[in-house]
Amino acid sequence: MAEPLGGRHPRPDAVMKVAGSARYVGDLALPGMLHAAIVAAPGAPARVVSLDLEPARAVPGVEAVLAAGDVPGANLVGTIFPDQPLLVEDRVRMVGDRLALVAARTPEAAWTAAAAVEPELEPLPGVHDPVEALEPGAPVVHESGNLVRTFRVRRNAGGDGAASAPVVVEAEYRIGGQEHAYLEPQGCLAIPESRSRITIVASCQCPFYVQHAVARVLGLPLASVRVRQAHTGGGFGGKEDYPSEVAACAAVLAFATGRPVRLIYSREYDLQATTKRHAMVVRHRWGADTDGRLLFAEVESFLDAGAYVGLSTVVAERANVSAIGPYHVPSVKVDTHVVHTNNLFGGAYRGFGAPQVTWAHEATMDRLARAVGVDPVEIRRRNLLTGESCTTCTGQELPSPVLAGACLDRATELAAAWTGSATVAPSPHLRRGTGVALVLYGCNLHHGGQFLDRSSAVVILQPDASAIVRVGLTEMGQGNLASAQTVAAQALGLDPSRVEVWEPDTATVADSGPTVASRGAHSTGLAILDAVRRLRRRLDPVAAGLLGCAPGEVELADGVARVAGDPSRAVPLERVLGEMTARRIETIATGWWRSRPRWFDEATGLGSPYETYAFACHVAQVAVDPELGLVRVEHVAAAHDVGRILHRDAIEGQIQGGIVQAMGWGLLERLELDRGRLLNPSFTDYLIPTASDTPEISMALLEDAPGAGPFGAKGIGEPSFIPTAAAIRNAVCDALGIEIDRLPFTPPVIVDALGTAHPFADLLD
């Protein structure tokens, strides 16, 4: 039997997904189940003048229509900050805000009823740009003011370098948001069991967030709310905080009617109302010596939180740590303003603020390269964190080895070895370019969220030497089941097919925090290893008795317990378990993991926000048609510092998927907002990459710097995404010889940026 670790054994969820037997929320129905719909505000901001719900109640098949006063517990959602009502009482702050909820016998009746409500809203002046929102006299989104908070970093700020740097580059970057576009829309099934307890089946990343949210709106103890995660059709952050709202809606209706209620979003409402990647304005003033060695960096960012705080403050924390990338900078000043507007509210999205600031710092590094006349790869080599100078943005000293330079070397080698593409037809105007981008990624949760950085697991050994594993972190496509299965199989010496990992259920494991921040494999795996350790305190003596050795000599591999160093002395694990069962020895154990405490000073933004860091470098090679402003990404080379590979297909899949999703953000995916209303809420108008857009991808997985995860693994979900769009930006600018400082690079943006350099500039004039 090959070792499970680092292997390519089939993912445990693959067969049911290809066969169509994996059931998602929308596939689950119960007798008497009702369907829910939401009455949403069409414009914002506004004051609610009147809300007549009678037209909805009059629709045949409608069983309940509820408004704010009908919420039995607190009328509040909001993961961190209690600033968002489940149902609006008098003030609409963003398009899509909920005014009322409907439950009906068919989805059609529910939608008809919701559409029959015509709320009377008095429009109020709104604000839709985060910079304008801070100007005096700007309309106020919440009474507390539009500035939620400014997050700072001050490290030798204003030192000599800032005054005397011979080379200074300045830029303002305007970076657009992004829709998650998970293929399965938001959905939830709420099953009331009595007046005092409820089961929720949800498409979600964070069942414990959902549990808290439902308990709050129903006024129930947490123990009376059971949340099971259904197969979840993609998340990318979009099912981190938002499903709490979906579940709260379904739960309130289920309690009001005493019947199961299913709420499935239409794609249009999903696009219109759910959280997005934050749009950001990032201003840079960076200085260097004449060789391009950085002397100082000043970064001021405006993060468009939208109408509610959501997770914006936490996003800003990560953005600050990533603000100057993996570079050595002696003097750093960062200000990130989290600002309310009446736009859709920003939430978690793969990378969590890091992709935006990375896009900016990698653009600035290319500017700097041009300013001092050196190659973009060389300018990075001169400034990268290495063994000698390893202080991060927040003043954290990194232990060796630091693989930033190794990632740059490997990715540039892969790019140089690429032999070209046959996908783009030659054209006289076609121009090619290459761009590089690097990322410094803090693994797991930031210091500010470390109270959540824990995880629970249960391992139950079966008499036939198979194992049930219960975990607290979710599978949403990224491969958490596969990595959990691999870790358990490796630790128990079992074939992966003998290990069944079940999706999270809040009634079976303790609160394990959210499945975010690329922490799934890490947190789940370490909790599983802890459970296995505890099991072995009971198993090893039994095995030792059968083997005639000391308990400390027992090792598990290949489905047997054997004497370490003498594999010929072995008994099948099944026999050991038979013996344990016969002697009624406990074959279940819980496991627990928590991150190590760290130091961080909020006032200066200095300290050790993350335990470990991962590095990555992407090199993009593009062909640009300047006439049309069209970009074809031909090749992306990706080198990643992964610590240790747990499941090879899962990790490769994360990198390939991350690259293509980031390419969409960089080139295609434009949220067309008109006073906070999304004008393109469909996949016809909001374009995401198709099979025809996929570039060739080469990758190198570096295992030379172990992380803190199981067997040395580091997270990959987010680092796979973060550098790509920046590399593409730099490649396009390289091809065209201009700077473009707005994302995404849609054709009009490119044509516009070319100005007089456009091939037909004279004609267009």
Binding site: K17, V18, A19, L183, E184, G653, S682, T684
Partner: protein, 157 residues
Amino acid sequence: MDERIVVRLVLNGEERSFRVAPGRRLLDLLREDAGLTGTKEGCGAGECGACTVLLDGRPVPSCLVLAASCDGAAVVTVEGLGGPAGSHPFQRALVASGGVQCGFCTPGLVMTGAAVLEAGVTAPADQARLLSGNLCRCTGYVKVFEALRRAGEDGDG
């Protein structure tokens, strides 16, 4: 007054008859009336391909097809293609290549991929074009292509 229309289908090889409202989508007939929930709804507007089924052998988005227009047709869904074990060569290749992540696009992708293989299309650019109606947000399509190649080779050999 019952306006419902009788629709006879050969559904996954079995003769079946349904009574549907004139506006009922083939997708709803499959998921709700026939209980075949393997076929997914990602957009309901013909944009994502998650609802793809084979209608007389051709891949179509079942959210855009009126059930009533399918009388007499043969319909194959993901459940009918390779059974509960997912034994169609493309299904097996997707499992072996790691081409499945969240799985919500997968049933539709499986149907389109099966049709691409059936049609004998092997040029990568043509395969990509034919798959471009099936959105996948997770995989970046790379391992999906790998699976298509693998299934094609297995089929030949």
